[in-house]
């Protein structure tokens, strides 16, 4: 049974996006959510939200004196009636936000014990890359539905592909297709340093926006610098730390020769209680370091266990963390 056949996912347009596209019920749930963006970011175009959200979307900001040429619809007649002076009511202009999804497609993300990394059809639901791609699909769909622009970048040792910002619900299939393609074989296995792919020129968005970095964070170095680079690029970053249950809680026992999926280096380890305790400690320290850095930069850190059902992660946990929220 392939991952595509499982509940919550379907393939309405043939094979395109069949693995990544969320199921209808999930789509409906995501539809009503918007990608949170910290602060007021200004886009180039006005947002196009309609229906019941119209009144509340026009948030009052300030008054200013009328100058000729102003739209008289914005004159505050009440103030004029009381004071005889013309004031223009100013509203926060709600504009679209660019949401860029950075999807780590390195070999460690694809890795699943006993499964060929080149054949995503055989992957299970707990595969990190598949899971990360599905989160990106959900969040991207929410962004597109919320009149935000969604872009996507996949990287391993370098940036391997890019989906330019798209708008509107209609662009969802392109996003899904791009994510589906990302599951395919990567050109290179990945880097030890996260700066190698992401600190390259042009890797980060040129204008302010929201970035989601979906990665397993298994980089020996460069994570902090990369986070700083995102901050420098005026991005509000959501660090989605995707780890498989085997990585949160290794089930290894005995004397093993561990092979690194990326470097293919071998390492003899006698796995004991002590070793597992030390691993747990190392993992916690790793997570703590990333989270602390995120907090310092005002970013959001979000740890994901791929054994948790996607619906729960997206609809419950992400909402609770304020990553996806209902528009006011």
């Amino acid at each position: 049974m392939s991952a595509a056949d499982r509940a919550g996912h379907s393939a309405p347009e043939g094979n395109k996006g069949k693995l990544v596209r969320p199921g209808e019920s999930l789509l409906r749930g995501v539809e009503r959510l918007a990608v949170a963006a910290s602060g007021r970011t200004r886009g180039t175009q006005q947002g196009k939200r309609r229906s019941g959200a119209l009144g509340s979307s026009l948030e009052f900001a300030d008054y200013r004196a009328y100058v000729p040429g102003d739209d008289i619809r914005r004159l505050d007649w009440n103030v004029y009636g009381r004071t005889g002076r013309a004031y223009i009511r100013q509203y926060w202009d709600e504009q679209e936000t660019d949401v860029t999804f950075y999807l780590d497609v390195s070999r460690s993300m694809r890795f699943e014990p006993g499964k060929p990394e080149t054949n995503p059809d055989t992957w299970s639901d707990t595969n990190k890359l598949l899971y990360a791609a599905r989160i990106a699909a959900c969040a991207g769909y929410a962004a597109l539905c919320g009149d935000d622009r969604a872009a996507a970048v996949r990287f391993a040792g370098s940036v391997e592909g890019r989906l330019h910002p798209a708008r509107g619900r209609g662009a969802a299939h392109r996003l899904f297709e791009f994510l589906e393609q990302s599951l395919g074989p990567a050109a290179d296995p990945g880097a030890e340093d996260l700066r190698v792919p992401l600190a390259a020129p042009g890797a980060l968005p040129p204008w302010p926006g929201v970035s989601w970095l979906l990665t397993d964070g298994l980089y020996a170095s460069g994570i902090e610098e990369t986070l700083k680079a995102f901050a420098s690029a005026r991005q509000h970053l959501v660090f989605v730390h995707v780890l498989a249950p085997d990585e949160w809680r290794p089930a290894l026992r005995g004397e093993l020769r561990l092979i690194d999926a990326e470097t293919e280096a071998a390492k003899d380890v006698a796995v004991h209680e002590n070793a597992l305790r030390a691993y747990d400690e190392a993992l916690k320290e790793h997570v703590r370091a990333i989270r602390r850095r995120c907090m310092e930069l005002g970013f959001v850190y979000f740890a994901v266990d791929t054994s948790v059902p996607l619906e729960e992660t997206v609809l419950v946990r992400m909402a609770r963390h304020g990553l996806l929220q209902r528009p006011r």
Partner: protein, 655 residues
């Protein structure tokens, strides 16, 4: 190094097997994981320990190989030579025979072999671990157990210092047999034998785990006075001295005859003896003296036989009391033997002190002893040697006369039967009766004893069980010889001297009646270093307090006088005894230890002579040490290896 089970070396094949197992050992199962990153951080400590990790497998293999090698080694039952630290007993046998008094080496003239050997033994005993008990046996006429299982080193040293030579016959075999019984079946027990090698222990089969020989005094030569006879003439004495030389080189020296009490020799003769030569030197016209000493002045190592003493045979004729019928043949034969005869009729003669005093011995010729019932007769018969001649006409109590079945004669060796054959002698009737205690038949005719000899209270007794008149013996030449030899044997015991005896032996002495006390007086001793200084030694007494008829001869060669005293402390008589060392001790053999079943047999004397100059060479063979079983040590080593292996494994498995 000794392997009791060398064939177990086959198990060494296990070593390559272990090596092979390491080479072909199961690889770690390969497990692919996403990244090493976290593991690397988790195992940072292990990473820091990387050289140890690399070493660990090699170390484990090495330890296992050593352990396997140890096991194989242990299976081969290894033993090494070493000082057994156990409490195994050490039995020291000291040969203190007379030959040990010889100088330790040629011309050293200082210490004797016994002293050297004892010093060597004492030094070796000092080096023994104090846990080992020491048993000390001195070989003598009877082996003497001086110390048994003694661990006090001072006591051992004192006991060793107290050991002196024994000049009598030494029974080394008995000492060795005793020592063997003490060390047999005892693990690590050692038998030390301090000897000059001149021992006779052919029958002793010693099976000790270790035998050490402290050989001493093998070198040198010995010239010995083998015999010294003195013939008393009317005015002067004649003497004959026989010398024997043992040794590899000719001996030269002076033979001097020194009269009693004198310092200057009465006669002197230089001699030169070839190795092994025996020569008789005759001297005539020596001035009369109580005794003579033959003094050998030569450079030899063994002094105990360099002097011999001789005294003239008793000059005065003995007096016999002939009780019973008058017999012409017997009287003639006794007179021929130079005996003064006093004829007595038992019916009319009653002996008194005065008449008894001159009587040396008594012949009862057919006299019925029941008639000699008076106290005077009983006292006289009990205090004199008696020759009883039984006759068929008046047989003794319970006696019956029988006719011998044939004329086959069986003569047993005895001074009285020395030159008697009884050949062609016809005896018509023989009286058979109980001769009394202590009497042995020395001549048997036709199956019936005809002559008994023995002793009662140290006085010789003789019984002729037939009447010479009932035979043709008086017509034979045997008869005067028998009478003369009987007179000499019976009369000699009463008067004269005690003759020659070997040191330490036991001799029978006819004690004079009325003797209350007797002493051995030392007149002269042979020129030996350990001469006894005591001038007089009380004679032995028997259980009821009387002076014993069996006396032990003084232990040091020399001339002694046995003096008897009566109740009033008057001297009853004084008899001389020449004491000589055991003759075998002076016979220098070329090959020490020959004729013994001990290791070192057949060792060349020359080797020993050129060995250590003090002559107290330790001739210990390779068996002086014990084989120590290594298996317990290997077991301990294996346990340590196991601990080390576990420690290595534990450290490696820390993560």
């Amino acid at each position: 190094m000794l392997f009791q089970s060398a064939a177990s070396a086959v198990f060494a094949l296990a070593l390559p097997a272990i090596l092979l197992m390491y080479l072909l050992r199961r690889r770690y199962p390969e497990t692919e994981i996403a990244s090493h990153l976290l593991w690397r951080r988790a195992l940072r400590e292990q990473e820091a320990n990387r050289p140890w990790q690399r070493l660990r497998r090699t170390l484990l293999l090495l330890l296992q190989l050593i352990a396997a090698a140890c096991l194989v080694f242990a299976l081969m039952r290894p033993h090494v030579m070493g000082q057994a630290s156990s409490a195994a007993p050490v039995v020291i046998v000291v040969d203190r025979s007379a030959s040990m008094t010889a100088a330790a080496s040629r011309g050293s003239g200082e210490a004797d072999a016994l002293g050297e050997a004892l010093q060597a033994v004492a030094a070796a005993a000092e080096e023994l671990p104090s846990s080992r008990p020491v048993t000390l046996i001195a070989a003598g006429g009877e082996p003497e157990l001086i110390l048994q299982d003694e661990t006090d080193r001072r006591k051992i040293r004192r006991a060793l210092e107290a050991i002196g030579p024994h000049y009598g016959r030494t029974d080394e075999e008995a000492a060795l047999t005793l020592a063997d019984a003490l060390v047999r079946n005892k693990e690590g027990a050692e038998l030390w034998l301090a000897t000059d090698g001149r021992i006779r222990a052919g029958g002793a089969t010693v099976e000790a785990s270790a035998i050490r020989l402290f050989a001493a005094g093998r070198d040198g030569a010995n010239t010995s006075v083998a015999a010294f006879g003195l013939q008393a003439g009317a005015e002067s004495h004649a003497a004959a001295v026989t010398l024997i030389h043992y040794g590899a080189r000719p001996a030269e020296g002076t033979l001097a005859l020194v009269p009693a009490g004198g310092k200057a020799p009465a006669a002197e003769r230089t001699f030169r003896l070839e190795p092994g030569e025996q020569r008789v030197f005759s001297f005539e016209g020596l001035p009369a003296a109580d005794y003579y000493r033959a003094d050998l002045r030569t450079a030899d190592d063994y002094a105990a036989d360099n002097a011999a003493f001789a005294f003239p045979a008793a000059a005065s004729a003995s007096r016999v009391l002939l009780v019973g019928e008058r017999s012409l043949f017997l009287t003639a034969a006794l007179e021929l033997a130079g005996v003064d005869i006093v004829q007595a009729d038992p019916d009319r003669f009653e002996p008194d002190d005065e008449s008894a005093a001159g009587i040396d011995w008594i012949v009862l010729y057919g006299a019925d002893e029941r008639k000699l019932d008076s106290a005077a007769w009983r006292s006289l018969l009990a205090s004199r040697p008696v020759w009883r001649i039984w006759t068929a006409s008046s047989p003794p109590r319970g006696g019956t006369a029988t006719e011998p079945a044939d004329n086959r004669v069986d003569i047993r060796p005895h001074p009285v039967t020395a030159h008697i054959t009884l050949a062609d002698t016809h005896i018509a009737r023989i009286v058979q009766a109980d001769p009394g205690p202590g009497m042995e038949p020395v001549a048997v005719y036709g199956g019936v004893p005809v002559l008994y000899a023995g002793a009662a209270d140290g006085r010789p007794q003789l019984v002729l069980a037939f009447d010479p008149a009932d035979s043709d013996l008086p017509l034979r030449p045997d008869f005067p010889i028998l009478a003369a030899q009987a007179a000499e044997w019976l009369g000699g015991a009463a008067g004269g001297h005690l003759g020659r005896a070997e040191a330490g032996s036991r001799i029978e002495i006819g004690i004079r009646s009325g003797t209350v006390r007797a002493v051995w007086e030392t007149l002269e001793t042979a020129p030996v270093r350990t001469a006894s200084a005591s001038a007089a030694v009380e004679a032995e007494r028997n259980a009821d307090g009387a002076v014993s008829a069996v006396q032990t001869v003084p232990g040091v060669p020399g001339l002694y006088r046995f003096v008897e005293y009566d109740a009033a402390d008057r001297v009853l008589g004084a008899r001389l005894l020449a004491v000589h060392a055991a003759e075998a001790e002076g016979m220098w053999t070329d090959e020490p230890l020959s004729g013994t079943g001990l290791p070192g047999t057949g060792r060349e004397t020359g080797d020993a002579a050129s060995g250590t100059p003090d002559g107290a060479e330790e001739a210990a063979s390779g068996q002086s040490d014990a084989w120590i079983d290594l298996v317990p040590y290997i077991a301990v080593l294996l346990l340590l290896l196991l601990a080390a292996e576990w420690e290595v494994y534990r450290r490696g498995a820390a993560f």
